[in-house]
């Protein structure tokens, strides 16, 4: 039941996208997200669609997994679409009582929906093709310059990777405790809000205890191996740009320029 949760879940596959350096993918995703906000024309969206669809094809991740991420934003999507649809002033296309739909409204609502959907698919494509650890490595390296301004980049990255590492462990632990309490007749599903909240106590108390215990164990294990922060630390697998990354950057620059140019088009 709980095992099906996908928070930045990695989907293993032998694809070009998986092999890219995490920094390339991070930069690519950032540029892609930016490009979505730059353009406002049909051509721009067409280019973005081609880019997205070919990335999905390259990633070899089944379409089902990519769409899964959209479930989380359905409410946001419906809200923003209906606001734009009903509240945009302009030439009325359809009028019924207080409901007024304008051509401009349809246009903005449509673009808004596409933009949101593309945003989510684009970023989940990155997390689906990059392991959480590679992602934090990439972030640490790309943001390394901030150390000069006193930002503890390494420590933040370490905290992130530990947190990410602990998500599946805690999910599994929750599943286990839930099962154990269910075996003792606990009921987590039925009843009103108060009853449900009360039913969480037998789950949350053991879960917190176990999280604290694990945290203490991990701290002990890290100290036993002489961990003392990022100063002078080398990596087992240092990040290195390859030939593939160069090609990816070239494609990205071409894509980004094309997207920027669409704003100059008259339609």
């Amino acid at each position: 039941m709980l095992r099906d949760i996908t928070i930045g879940q990695y989907y293993p596959a032998p694809s070009v996208l998986h092999r890219l350096d995490p920094r390339t993918k991070l930069a690519g995703t950032m540029l892609y997200l930016l490009s979505l906000f730059m353009t406002d024309s049909v051509v721009g969206y067409a280019i973005a669609t081609v880019f997205l669809v070919s990335s999905i094809k390259l990633s070899k991740v089944p379409f089902r997994f990519i769409v899964k991420g959209l479930k989380a934003i359905i409410i946001l999507l419906v809200l923003s679409v209906s606001f734009n649809l009903f509240l945009t002033p302009g030439e009325p296309l359809f009028e019924f009582g207080f409901i007024r739909i304008t051509i401009e409204g349809i246009k903005t609502a449509g673009f808004m929906a596409i933009r949101l959907i593309y945003l989510v698919i684009g970023s989940s494509l990155m997390t689906l093709t990059t392991t959480p650890n590679a992602l934090t490595d990439g972030l640490e390296k790309s943001l390394g310059f901030m150390k000069r301004f006193g930002v503890p980049v390494h420590e933040i990255a370490m905290m992130m990777s530990i947190a990410l590492r602990f998500i599946p462990i805690l999910v599994e632990e929750t599943d286990k405790i839930m099962k154990a309490q269910t075996a003792r007749g606990a009921d987590f599903e039925s009843g009103g809000l108060v009853k449900k909240a009360k039913a969480m106590v037998p789950l949350l108390v053991p879960l917190f205890l176990s999280a604290f215990r694990r945290a203490a164990d991990l701290a002990m294990a890290m100290e036993a191996r002489c961990y003392h922060g990022g100063e002078g630390r080398t990596r087992m697998r240092p990040l290195r740009y390859g030939c593939l990354d160069k090609k990816a950057y070239i494609i990205l620059i071409i894509y980004f320029t094309a997207m920027a140019l669409t704003n100059l088009l008259p339609w």
Binding site: R3, A13, K176, A180, Q181, A183, R184, G185, P202, P206
Partner: protein, 286 residues
């Protein structure tokens, strides 16, 4: 009363790249009052199997019958099934949550809809079975030692008065004394109250001593379901599965190779003692 599994198959994360088959066509029937040992290498499907027996996991296909009733059928009350088939997970002390021991043990019976007094009566009875002294009843479960916590957790399941008790490695991580105490209580429950016991264990010595029958899992499949003696005769195959026979079985095999006529099926220290004494007496007479 009997517990029967029919063609149980379970596939985790079906339809994804992570798909894996944890149980493949497992069928068996456990009669009332039997002490069954469940053995198998790590990842052989033991834990998945026992979670099906009280309906925590739904099989991908196949089903489980309790007294002839399909527990996965529509009208079946899962809570009643779970009260009749008590399941004690691995490291059960990690599910304790209440402020004191007695309240924690009462959790199960109260979930079954019993009044506070009745629940308390059952809780005290269960705590007596596992041998926890009364002075601990009002203490926080988190102050107890590992072995005591575990006994409280087992009492938490026993207080629902199940007819079948399934324990997943109840002695893991305990010292020899704590181990003997827990196995002793389980054996007493079996002999005195006629409970059906399913004991998941990595210790061949333990299952040889207590179990009437053994279920042997290997690679998601049920390999053997027979008496310990019959199963341990296959000790070569057991080794291939990453298991082993009790050391006494190896002793018997070595003794026979050396030309001593001992029973090849002996598996406990007690049986070995008798056999070897018989051997000496036989020599005296001859």
């Amino acid at each position: 009363m009997s517990l029967k599994a029919e063609h149980l198959t379970h596939i985790y994360q079906a339809g994804t790249a992570m798909e894996s088959c944890a149980l493949r066509d497992v069928s068996f029937e456990i009669e009332d009052g039997l002490f069954v040992g469940l053995i198998g290498h790590t990842g052989s499907g033991k834990s998945t199997l026992i979670q099906h027996l009280n309906g925590l996991l739904r099989p991908s296909s196949g089903t489980v019958y309790l007294d002839g009733e399909d527990i996965f059928s529509e009208g079946c009350d899962m809570r009643k099934v779970r009260a009749r088939i008590g399941l004690v997970f691995q490291y059960p002390e990690y599910q304790l949550f209440e402020q004191d021991v007695l309240t924690d043990v009462k959790f199960g019976p109260k979930n079954m809809g019993l009044s506070d007094e009745e629940a308390e009566k059952k809780a005290i009875e269960a705590l007596k079975v596992v041998g926890l002294a009364e002075e601990y009843y009002k203490r926080s479960p988190f102050e107890l030692s590992g072995g005591q916590k575990r006994r409280v957790a087992i009492a938490g399941v026993l207080s629902m008065e199940p007819k079948v008790l399934i324990l997943d490695e109840p002695t893991a991580g305990l010292d020899p004394k704590g181990r003997d105490e827990i196995l002793g209580s389980i054996d007493r429950l079996h002999r005195e109250r006629g409970l059906t016991i399913i004991l998941v264990s990595h210790s061949m010595e333990d299952v040889a001593e207590y179990a009437d029958k053994l279920l042997v899992m290997d690679g998601s499949e049920l390999r053997y379901f027979d008496t310990p003696k019959a199963v341990f005769r296959h000790f070569k195959e057991l080794e291939h599965m990453g298991l082993a026979a009790p050391q006494i079985t190896y002793l018997a095999s070595d003794l026979r190779k050396a030309g001593f006529q001992v029973d090849q099926d002996m598996s406990t220290v007690e049986e070995a003692r008798k056999e070897i004494r018989k051997l000496f007496r036989g020599n005296d007479e001859g």
